[in-house]
Structures are given as C-alpha cells and as structure tokens.
Amino acid sequence: MSKRNWVVVASVFTSACFGFAALTGAVLATGCEKKKPDGSSSGMAGAGDKGPAMPGITATEIKIGQTMPYSGPASAYGAIGTTEKAYFQMINDKGGINGRKITLMSLDDSYQPPKTVEQTRKLVENEGVAFVFGSVGTACNTAVQKYLNEKKVPQLFVATGADKWADPEHFPWTIGWQPSYRTEARIYARYLLKEKPAAKVCVLYQNDDLGKDYIAGLKDIFGDQYDKMVLEKASYEATDPTVDSQVMTLQAKGCDTLITAAIPKFGAQVIRKVFDTGWKPLHIMSNVAVSITAGLKPAGLDKSVGIITGGYLKDPNDPNMANDPGIKDYRAFMKQYEASLPGIDPGDTNALYAYGVSMTLVNVLTKCGNDLSRENIMKQAASLSKFVVPVAIQGTELTTSATDFRVFSQLQLSRFNGTNFEPFGDVLSAD
C-alpha cells in the first residue's frame, strides 16, 4: 500500500475517533431513553383507567424528581435531599401511598442554575417524573420556574425562603413551603406595633434577597409609619469580614430596638459587638441566624440572652422537646434509617426540615387518591386544610387555597434564656 493511502487511513482514523466521541455521547444519550418522551405514553393511569394522562405514575410507582446541591458552595443543604430519600424509603417500607411506592430521583446541580435547567429537563423529558419536589436554591428554582410552568409540571415545596413563590396568578404550578423572610419580618413588625409602638428601630441586613425581603416585610406592616419608626438601616455584604462598623453606626443613632436580618456567621458578630459596646436594645434576629450551634455559641451564650426570634419548626436540640411526640418520632426515624443518612446529625435543622416537608408531600399525595394527574396533584397542594406537621411549632396549621400559596405563614416568637429558646405569646400570623 502506498504511503499516501496510509495517510488517508490515518486521517479517517482521526475523524473516526472524533466521530466516536460524538457517538458515545449519542449512545450514552439514547441508551437509557428509548421510553417515554415526556412521560406521556408510559404514564397512563395504573390499572388501565380511562382517567387523564398521569405522567410518572404507574400502578406501583410514583416517580418524582428534584435537584440538590450535593456538591459546590451550598453542599450543606445536600442533607435535605438525603433525608427526603430516607423518608420516602420509610413510607415505601410501610407499604407506600395507596399501594404505590415513591421513587425520588435526586440529582446534583452543584447550586449552578444552568445545571439545574439541564437536570430538570432530564427529569421531566427523559425520566418522565410526575413533578419536581423540594429543589434547593432561590436562583436554581427561578431558573426552571418558567419552564416548569409552561410544561404544567408542578414545582412543589421549593426549598428557599424568598417571597416570590407564592404567586399563583403568574406561576400556578409553583408553590413554596417555609415561611418567607418577608412573612417573618411582617410578624416582627406586628409584634413591635403591639408591644412597643414607640420603638426606635434600627435594621442591619444582608445585602441580598434575604435582607431585601426583610425590609419589604417591615414596610408592609409599618406602612406610612415606616420612616418614623425606622431611624436607620445599615447593610453588609455576605463576603464582608466583619459588621462591627455597621453596629457602631446604628448604635450612635440611639435606637432602642435592633432587627438583624443575617446568616449565622454575622449573627454571632452582631451579638458580640452589641454586647461589648454596652448597647442594650430589644434585639430581634432572623430565624436563620439563631442556630444555637452556628450562631449563639460562637458569640457566647451569656451574651445572647434576651434575643427574640420567630420559628416555625420545633428545636430538636431543646431538652424540653425530648418528650414531644413529633420530635420523638423524628428521632426514631433518624435512628432507624441511620444507614441511609451518613453523617447527618438528628440535631441538623436541615434534616428536620426535610422530614417536615416530606410529610407534607405524603399528605398531598394521599389526598390525591387514585387521581395522580399533575392537575390534581397541584390542586391538592393548593388546598391544604389545617394540616398539622408534628415537628412544626405547636399550634401552627398549614392551609393553602387557589389564591393563597403561602404554606407556612405562622410563627411563634421565642426568647433566648441562656440555654434554649423559650416560646412566648401566641402563634402569630402574617396577615
């Protein structure tokens, strides 16, 4: 064979290699997708009913999906997905929901919105899931909200505290779960108007959607009194090293009430600085900041006495809760499924959160009965009626309607006594 021919052969080999790379992609792609484009064909009602199309549902299975930051900057939230999977394992072990087992496909998106889009499309178009449940992250959920609403795929109980999820008018297929930061701030404002109407309020907030939702909540309730009541506000970036100077500025304004909308790291700094300067304001602090292990202990428990916050879940670390039936069940579950929950501590509020939200989902699916169409699932999620989550604060009930998608809208205020948070007053509502 001539030299020339060899060269052609070699070149064809080269191109074949690249072709192979592309084809591997294609094969990888088609290998597992022969079935269900968009779940429409496979998902006809289980036992051959003539009901509406039910993607992701068979006679024995309810297939659902979610995206989770198992890797990347927010990987601490990965505990939520792991706990949810274990929870559905428990439900399946007990016989499932109306004879159907729940399969949760929990995919990693590294907290990167483009990856969330990709994984969510995979779940909906390739895996044919019935709906998306409890995906984590404000930006990540925002990235797929339009897509899921256009496809009419329920986006249930998203795990973010932003306020925008309760918008049934524009996004009837999206619903949140936890109280939004705005709801929380409204409740603090209500409390102040009632207990301390002449308060001179200073606000310290994180400069992102968390902090901005707080300001909006205060404005909701204070209304035209806002400018009179709030003497000064100061903000910080989540990347700032300290907030000492902001605390000094606020103190100099002569406020007698401080509202801190922060994450634990800064919560601790504020507590310490306020204590050290001898300023003794009525200190209300955001629920996310008052984790005893991450916020109060680093600041000093003695310096944290008197801090007020609003909560919606029971505190699993509170010794008074040791005999609470909800917390006892929760701890029993965490113990029984320990093997599926590597490295997750029962005291981790993420796990408690996952337990509560999964329980809500199971309630919704049970209410659906045999009509597990996307329409009915969404309808049932939007018609919770006084549902009680046993790990939520005593007295809170979940109620939703077609026009009100706020699932948790009640909080219980509590005050730190040096060892744990002591609830006081009634359960307060944001409205």
Partner: protein, 349 residues
C-alpha cells in the same frame, strides 16, 4: 498554504513533539477535510435522532466547545494559564441579556457584540497581566473568576443585572416550527456560530499570529529577540480568548434561558480547564472531546454511583490523564505517528 504554516500547526497540535514529517501539507489536508466532513454530517443529523433534552445537551456541548476553544487558544497556544475565563463568560452572558432586554436587539445580533465587548475586556486585562507568568498568572485570573459573582450582585448594577435574583433571557423561537423544533433551532444557531468560531480559530493558528503565539509559548526570550512584541501579542491572545468565552457565555444564556451570579462561579472556569486538558490543550478539534467530557461525564459518574459521583468523576479524570497525558488530540497524533512509522518501514522493506 505554506509548509511553514503547516509545520507550526503540527507542533502546536501535537504538544508532545511527535511530528510525523513524512507528508506534505496538501495530502494531510485531504484527510482532515474528510474528518471535518464526517463531523459535520454527524452534527447535522444527530438533532433529528434525539429527544428535546438530549438536543439541549448537544447544544451545551457546542457552547462548551466554543468556550474551551477560547481557553485553548490562550493556554495551549500562547502558554498563558487562565482560571478566569468563567468571568468573561459572565460578561458575555450579561452583555447579551442587557442588549436583548434593555436595547431590544434580536438574539442573533447579540453574540458578536458580546464577543467584541469581551475582546476589549480581555485585552485590557491581558495587558497588565502579560507581565505575570505561570502560577502567578493563574492566581491573578482565578481572582477574576472569584470576584465576578460579587460584582454582578452590586446594587448599582442591579437595574441591568437583576442582582442576586438573576434575569430571564427569552429563548429563541423556531422560524420553521413545522420542520424544526425550538430546541433544534437553538442548536443549529449555536452550531452555526461554533463553526464560524472554529474556522476563525483555525486561521488564527495557522497564520502569522498563531506562529507568533507558539513562539512566545516555547521560547519567550527567543520570540522577543525575533522581533515579536511579547506584551502586545499576549494581550491580543487574552482578548481573543475572552471573545470566544464571551460568545460562549452569550450562547449559554440563550440555552439556559436564565442567568444569575450563581451561574458563573469559579467552578465554571475550572470546568473549562478540565475540558481543555482532556481534549488536548493545544488542539482545536480536541475541544470537542473536552466539551463532550465535561457535559456527559458528571452524568455518567452519577449513574455509576449516586452517593459519590464526584469521586467517580475524579477517577475517570485520572484514568483519562494517565491514558492520554496530552489529551484526546495527543492520543490521535501518537496513533497517527505510529501508523506513519509502520508505513515507512513497510515501504522500505
């Protein structure tokens, strides 16, 4: 095409210095065209065989390929390491979203403008950075990709960037809905842009600029002595690289339909680097392999083990690097050299 030009490409392409040297430019070119043709056919046919989500992945691969190409031009050809290309991708993505939303430009007009803006940004960054070398440059560029998400969150920029909440980018709609779905339309648009970018890269590398860049990489002092303006060439390399990445960012925004500061963390820059190295950092067509790798392998790893996908990913990456230390392109060149040696022996005997 001159033989000198061909030789320069080969040196650049092989990276390990395995130059076959037995053929003339024209004959080699014939084989290459065959390969390119085969690839084109695959690229044109695939979207009609795949489902919407797979087309979406294919589009992502195309976009990643353009971004990795930008990194290869910089790191592979001019020898400057960049861990900051994700930042240029952000600039491109936000630029095109602002052009579309605030100025009402159509989507197809935005990638070139975003690219031009990124060229300027890259050039301006590259000018001072040209004094830095190796690890120092890597750190300086890494700083760029760490800073970018925070810049995007700035209050003053919020009217344009949407702050932490991000912005929706309207996805292009197919003009021939009966024949081509929206997903396919977007894919073909990205493919067309990618083809243009590859042709441009091919010409840059084979021309005067490419030779100057390779000379800079291999022997900066020698290159200087030969009259190559090192600072200006290095800055241009940065500009071109930023332009490619910016165009990829602008396409990526269309593909995802949404951008936010969290879309452009430093992980993105590292992904580009992984893709570049896996494909062959000084190769043009290796970028395709790199893009396929970063798009599909994390998924594959997830299938193998759900509990430790990143460990699997790491193992696969290490295996790749051990089996083909010069990337996919290096492997192809070694195979080609081996075949050529055999053929010479045969003809002799």
């Amino acid at each position: 095409m001159s033989t000198v030009g061909e030789a320069a490409t080969t040196t650049a392409g092989t990276a390990n210095g395995a130059i076959t040297g037995t053929t003339t430019g024209t004959r080699r070119l014939g084989g290459r065209w065959l390969g390119v043709l085969a690839l084109l056919v695959i690229a044109l046919v695939l979207p009609f065989l795949l489902s919407g989500y797979r087309i979406f992945q294919l589009t992502q691969i195309t976009v990643y390929a353009v971004a990795i190409l930008g990194l290869n031009l910089l790191t592979g050809f001019s020898g400057q390491i960049s861990l900051g290309n994700g930042a240029f991708s952000a600039v491109g993505a936000y630029a095109s979203s602002i052009l579309m939303i605030k100025l009402g430009l159509p989507y197809w007009a935005t990638p070139p403008l975003a690219g031009a803006l990124c060229f300027v940004a890259g050039y301006l960054f590259g000018h001072p950075a040209a004094r830095l070398e190796g690890l120092y440059l890597a750190l300086a560029t890494f700083a760029l990709s760490i800073v970018m998400p925070q810049v995007l969150k700035l209050d003053t920029l919020e009217p344009w960037t949407g702050g932490t909440q991000g912005v929706y980018v309207t996805k292009p709609v197919s003009l021939l809905p009966e024949l081509i779905s929206d997903d396919q339309w977007l894919y073909f648009f990205c493919l067309a842009v990618a083809i243009v970018m590859f042709v441009v890269a091919w010409n840059i590398v084979r021309g005067r600029t490419g030779r100057a860049l390779v000379a800079l990489r291999d022997h900066p002092i020698g290159a200087g002595a030969m009259g190559i303006d090192t600072v200006s060439y290095k800055s241009v390399a940065f500009g071109v690289s930023a332009m490619y990445t910016g165009i990829a960012g602008s396409l990526g925004a269309l593909v995802a339909g949404f951008i936010s500061p969290d879309s452009f963390t430093y992980l993105l820059s590292i992904q580009f680097l992984v893709g570049g190295v896996v494909g062959g950092i000084a190769s043009i067509f290796g970028t395709l392999v790199g893009a396929v790798f970063i798009e599909l392998v994390p998924d594959l790893a997830n299938k193998i083990s759900e509990s430790a996908p990143w460990a699997i990913y790491g193992v696969l990456l290490i295996v790749c690097m051990m089996m083909m230390p010069w990337g996919a392109a290096g492997l192809v060149h070694s195979a080609r050299a081996w075949l050529a040696r055999r053929s010479t022996r045969r003809t002799r005997s």
